[in-house]
């Protein structure tokens, strides 16, 4: 309905903001419970036929980049129907028990710690998480496996949410065969079959609250081609599920005057950087699942007591590789010309740093205050050394660190040089994160959190946060399944809390 003031009006039992790892499962849960649900997604709706094998094109179409307010670290998130699950690597981990216990102890989240594992198993089944078998273990993964075996380090194949992976190496570009069980493939169609409506290119600008109760959202329909505002949209709904992703959810709460001074705080990440190895044999690291094997020797979860990072194989695409290799000119070009012989290990660091995410200036990216601390950088250095040892043990001819001015590591004797490298963030070729957490954290005490232990906003009845924003911290493992499980639980709790019709 379009009113005389040019504002389009819609109403629903519930509106879900975002369609990624949080929004997708919440949308399906609400729709299957019989609610009339509307999902608003700021990005476009694409399908397998739209996904192309071109790094340069995928970048701009599927995701957004944000940088910290002082620069030096970047964040990436998917911005289309399906969210970051469209561009992620489909990796599945159960929420580690140590993390759940810490949340119980430090955030008064006993019910979450007790109940989440059950929802994890549901999400695990629903997205078809399966172990990466030999037929889907590429040479890059096998390089990590061989090094770990020779060093006696704990390692193994990761689980992935796929059905019939064709080894195309395009998980990050949008899966062109729908093998990856992204939210776009697994959750959104399921919700639509149950009657949910999904509006793409609809950006939520504000959550409306009246007398302590959520009333709906104000949004803007965007032109799909230009991304310029087209029509204002007003949605009336007694239940709003916020799942716009960590870079958007807390800023939206703040713009809406919800959460007080706590909204935006507690932002955390898994900071990442690449270590690259050159082998005599061709690796062809651009084929096969983009990720599939993890070295967990140095993790601090799942029974490990290491410094707190995991090393995982990752795709060897030209533009990404150009970014992470140090130097310029002939030396950089020589390394690039060996691309088929290169392998990457990405460090997934469980940061101890915490920061804040806030709205940017009008129309601008969010402001992220996050300065990776000296202790975290020290653990990153440890990870570079471990990755270099791993690759040398697996037979690499040389290992290249993502540090400007660093020399190639060609033997164990060279490893000492890593300890002497100046390693402030301006010298890293690429320091980034795609696993983001916090900004609207749950806490058992109202004075300490934005949401209660069921993800419901303390300050606005009928508003729940179902993405990683409401998780109280990082997980030490790839969080896709944890977020999906969290969203299922939050949505079910929201249904149970609804006043009778």
């Amino acid at each position: 309905v379009t009113a005389g003031d040019g504002v389009e009006s819609l109403s629903a039992d519930a509106v879900v903001v975002g369609t990624g790892a949080g929004g997708g499962p919440a949308l399906a849960t609400l729709a299957e419970a019989g609610l009339e649900v509307l999902a608003l997604e700021a990005g476009p709706r694409l399908s397998a036929a739209d996904f192309v094998a071109d790094e340069a094109i995928s970048r701009t179409r599927l995701g957004r980049i944000a940088v910290t307010s002082e620069g030096l670290q970047s964040f990436y998130a998917g911005t289309c129907v399906g969210g970051s699950t469209v561009v992620n690597d489909a990796l599945c981990f159960r929420a580690p028990p140590e993390v759940l216990e810490a949340w119980r102890r430090e955030h008064a989240l006993g019910p979450l710690a007790d109940e989440l594992p059950g929802y994890v198993e549901r999400a695990w089944r629903d997205v078809h998480a399966e172990p990466t078998d030999r037929a889907h273990t590429n040479r890059n993964a096998r390089a990590l496996e061989r090094g770990a075996r020779r060093l006696g380090w704990e390692a193994g194949p990761m689980h992935r949410s796929v059905r019939g992976c064709a080894n195309l190496g395009r998980c990050n570009f949008g899966c062109p065969t729908d093998a990856k069980q992204s939210s776009l493939v697994a959750w959104v169609p399921r919700a639509e079959r149950a009657g949910a409506r999904v509006l793409a290119n609809a950006r939520v600008d504000r959550i409306r609250v009246a007398a302590g109760r959520v009333a709906g959202v104000d949004a803007t329909r965007l032109d799909p081609a230009t991304r310029e505002p087209r029509v204002r949209l007003r949605v009336e709904a007694p239940l709003v599920v916020l799942a716009a992703g960590v870079l958007a959810s807390a800023p939206l709460l703040r713009r809406s005057g919800i959460g007080g001074g706590r909204a935006g705080r507690g932002f955390q990440a898994h900071s990442s950087a690449y270590v690259t190895a050159r082998f005599a044999q061709a690796i062809h690291g651009y084929y096969g699942p983009t990720m599939g094997y993890a070295v967990s020797e140095f993790a601090d979860v799942n029974g490990r007591a290491g410094p707190g990072y995991v090393l995982e194989n990752t795709a060897v695409q030209p533009m990404q590789t150009a970014a992470v290799l140090p130097g310029f000119g002939a030396a950089h070009a020589r390394a690039m010309a060996a691309l088929p012989h290169l392998a990457h290990a990405v460090v997934v660091l469980r940061d101890r740093t915490r920061g804040e995410v806030a709205p940017g200036a009008a129309g601008a990216d969010p402001r992220v205050d996050y300065a990776l601390g000296a202790e975290d950088l020290g653990r990153m250095r440890h990870a570079f050394s471990s990755a270099a040892r791993l690759f040398l043990a697996s037979g690499a001819e040389e290992v290249l660190l993502p540090v400007e001015g660093s020399a190639p590591i060609r033997s164990e004797r060279d490893l000492g040089a890593i300890e002497r490298l100046p390693l402030d963030r301006t010298r890293l070729t690429l320091l980034y994160a795609v696993h983001l957490f916090g900004g609207a954290p749950m806490h058992g005490r109202r004075s300490e959190g934005v949401c209660d232990p069921e993800g419901a906003c303390w300050d606005a009845q009928g508003l729940v946060v179902a993405d990683a924003s409401s998780l109280p911290g990082n997980t030490g493992v790839n969080p896709q399944i944890t977020i999906m499980a969290h969203a299922l639980r939050v949505a079910e709790a929201a249904i149970a809390r609804r006043p009778p019709r």
């Binding site: 002082e70 620069g71 080894n167 990405v346 400007e404």
Partner: protein, 198 residues
């Protein structure tokens, strides 16, 4: 964890965005925008003509970026740039359409590279007027500088130049990457089997 080539764009953004807060770079950009720099400083140097339709780069900054990209991309890349078969600056201009906030700090960084002299940049003449090996020395000095702002100028320009360069399929082909093979079954079979494994 990895993502579709966010790397070059992300590292460019991480290095360039905060440069806009450096006063001397802002002044340099403002003077150029106001037409207060000598004409010789703002006119594109002789050589390839800037393409029509640039939205964010001026003819001058286009030529400075391509000069830097030619050195950053290495010898074979320099040949592609010199002959106009790959235009990293044009590709960068296209990229800026999706990241317009980076246009100003990039222009400032390019002007600093072109017009900066000792002690800001280790040279006395415009970057585009230097011999290739002198240009390499300028970039190396920025990369190794003890001043974080200079390292950021280097990092940002390096990322934008590499982004513009490798965005071209001709440049990616230099790496041995199978450009244009969406379902290369033979290559995939090789990648999934490692005979030496065991």
């Amino acid at each position: 964890v990895s993502a579709p080539d966010h790397g070059l764009a992300a590292s460019a953004a991480a290095d360039l965005a905060p440069l806009d807060r450096r006063a001397f770079l802002r002044w340099l950009g403002a003077l150029a925008a106001a037409g207060l720099l000598p004409a010789a400083c703002t006119r594109a140097p002789a050589g390839l003509a800037a393409p029509a339709g640039l939205r964010f780069l001026s003819p001058r900054t286009w030529s400075v970026l391509n000069a830097a990209a030619a050195r950053i991309a290495g010898p074979r890349g320099a040949e592609l740039v010199a002959t106009g078969r790959v235009d990293p600056a044009l590709r960068a201009d296209e990229f800026l359409a999706g990241a317009p906030a980076l246009a100003r700090p990039l222009a400032q960084a390019l002007l600093a590279l072109e017009l900066g002299v000792f002690p800001l940049v280790a040279k006395l003449r415009p970057f585009t007027a230097l011999a290739p090996e002198q240009q390499d020395a300028v970039l190396a000095e920025l990369a190794a500088s003890r001043f974080a702002t200079k390292r950021r100028i280097y990092g940002g320009l390096r990322s934008i130049a590499l982004l513009g360069f490798y965005a071209a399929p001709e440049a990616r082909a230099l790496t041995g990457y199978p450009v244009g093979s969406p379902r290369p079954s033979a290559g995939i079979a090789d990648a999934m089997d490692w005979p030496e494994d065991g």
